[in-house]
Symmetry: C2
Subunit: 378 residues, 2 copies
């Protein structure tokens, strides 16, 4: 068996300690997946990611389909070989990017017609096409194409999107299973995505409908897109309450550092977020004492590391004063060092979360993280 | 003794194998110094530089004086502490940058008045000021302020610049020696700079005049700025013929990979150049088979490493196809990987040069490097 998922311990809160086995390594869960949109986690080398202990990263189907093209990546041996990353990869379906980046998109039951944000060329992304692209990429975990809608959404819009997402999930599942068995493809898992905006009953309906398709894992999508954090948690809980306990659950695109344990407590096993990498490039550093906006003049002579409690290579070596200066001087190395630290910070939160679950201390850890983090930097 | 220089072997060509001892480590010469203009070798972390084996880097006085300011760096413990680089550092005098970057510069015997390219503020750089800044930075090797002129230069202009450069060198030497002995400064060496444009007799005159000031080392400046390579070599030879054999010689701002052994054969021990780092950011990769312009479509499916003969971390892990793609996608990691490889290539040429001198094979090595390098990539 190339793939398996095992829940090692469940906390009274609902948090789960688990182990996801893939052909590209074993991932302790709850796990954070750094985002490598275009087959590169921006400003980090693959060596750095290994050093940081990332076991799985996310890559974007939309971007890789448009450039360099999935057929090229297939020809060059798949995404792992192409980018020389031999740990696990999850690819999204491209749906979210089509809805947020592409021009002139038109949604029908068939799929989404859109123009590339790169060169204006026209494309049709269908559930089958999204599956085909991801099979070519050869990621460990592929996602089905879902319909992403703007929030807040009217109920009718959300209802229609759930219906279409389920229909698309069925087609994606069929295509994926046929293709995967027909060819000598590397083993791959495909996850379904629960939608339903902020309507509890639609979330439940979406989850129930997807269960029939028997995915090896389920994601919760369309959340943390502007709604209050409590509502994100509530919707997540509605979905996870119905999802099979023996399968991994992935909450897409979250979140702020202090929110992570809340999602874990709703039974989430996997998360991804651009925040640590994107914020790093904008001089926002995450620390155990809150966000450090390193361009601030208060750090000009600050000889402390970014985070006195951090064990990363950047905190071991460099001062806030130097980091601040590198950003002021617009040096590339600023992005490299800041990204390294921020990814370490997120991966470390997850390590602490797993430890807290092990010792039945998730509640305490959550309270402590929030208190320390929201207090702000010294 | 914190500083020393020892010539271990001299080749019939004039090439020297040496050892430069500094308070921040021993450097085997001939040595290449990667350029860290603004206290950062662009796109490389200090860890990466150590991994690559760089024993000494160059930093720019002009840039650091304007931002973050030498007084701040002094306060934070000097440049080594500021940037957390504990191997050797050579700082230029700022002269070249004032002449090439600053606005509205006006040269008098006193010094150079100029406006900052950053904010238009007015500054006066004198020989004393350039020495003061570098004493504050606490680099291992400081350079005197020299007058840099445009080339080709008329004889009268070159003659006047030599005269002024000598006068300034005298003032810089005096200031440096007084200050260095008066304060509890870290040990530091100061080098003089031979000027004289492309006039052999002026080069000799400049060298002779500087000898009286008894610098611990000498640089040859104002070369490789557009004149033919043969002329650069000839002018270099004019200077080194007069410079004391027991002191290190540094040829500033060179050069193309295939030219490096020629300078070594003229008795040069140290070189610096922005080429490997700057070219890397522009997708130009140096290899044992010549320059690889990695954006070229011929590399789209090329699964070979950048340089099959290179042992660097980038060549061990990534393909040309991936590098090409990263540049096409404008990923930051493209600059990181390309710079890493190019710096390795330059440092490796120097390792091979030193080995060739050891075995009396510099002539063969030079011919082979040129033949292989200029043949161009497969």
């Amino acid at each position: 068996m190339d793939f398996s998922f095992e829940v090692l311990k469940t906390d009274p809160s609902g948090a789960r300690l688990g182990r996801l086995t893939t052909p590209h390594g074993v991932i302790e869960t709850p796990a954070f997946m750094p985002v490598g949109t275009a087959a590169s986690v921006k400003a980090l080398t693959q060596n750095a990611l290994e050093e940081l202990g990332a076991g799985i990263i996310l890559a974007n189907t939309y971007h890789l389909y448009l450039r360099p093209g999935h057929e090229l990546i297939r020809k060059l041996g798949g995404l792992h070989a192409f980018m020389s990353w031999h740990r696990a990869i999850l690819t999204d379906s491209g749906g979210y990017q089509v809805f947020s980046l592409a021009d002139l998109r038109k949604i029908t039951d068939e799929g989404v017609r859109f123009r590339s944000h790169l060169d204006g060329s026209e494309h049709l992304l269908t559930p089958e096409k999204a599956a085909e692209i991801q099979l070519a990429l050869g990621s460990d975990i592929a996602m089905v194409l879902d319909e992403c809608i703007e929030t807040p959404a009217r109920r009718e819009v959300a209802e229609a999107a759930v219906k279409r997402t389920t229909a698309w999930a069925g087609r994606a599942r069929k295509y994926f299973e046929e293709f995967a068995s027909r060819n000598g493809n590397p083993p791959q898992w495909q996850f379904g995505i629960v939608q339903g905006a902020t309507f509890a009953d639609l979330r439940r309906e979406s989850a129930r409908q997807l269960l029939d398709l028997n995915f090896p894992g389920y994601a919760v999508g369309g959340l943390a897109v502007g709604e209050p954090h409590e509502l994100t948690c509530e919707m997540t809980a509605e979905a996870t309450a119905l999802l099979p306990t023996e399968k991994p659950r992935y909450l897409m695109g979250v979140g702020q550092p202090e929110q992570i344990p809340d999602y874990v407590a709703r039974g989430i096993d996997m998360m991804d977020c651009v925040l640590p990498t994107r914020a790093a490039r904008h001089a926002c550093l995450y620390t155990s004492e809150g966000r450090v906006l390193i361009k601030n003049a208060r750090y000009i002579e600050d000889q402390r590391p970014i985070d006195p409690h951090c064990k990363c290579a950047v905190c071991k070596r460099y001062t806030r004063a130097y980091l601040r200066y590198l950003f002021a001087a617009k040096e590339i190395t600023a992005a490299i060092l800041a990204t390294h630290h921020n990814v370490q910070f997120y991966l470390d939160i997850m390590r602490q979360v797993r430890e807290a679950i092990t010792f039945g201390q998730l509640g305490n850890f959550t309270a402590e993280l929030r208190a320390r983090y929201l207090a702000g930097p010294a």
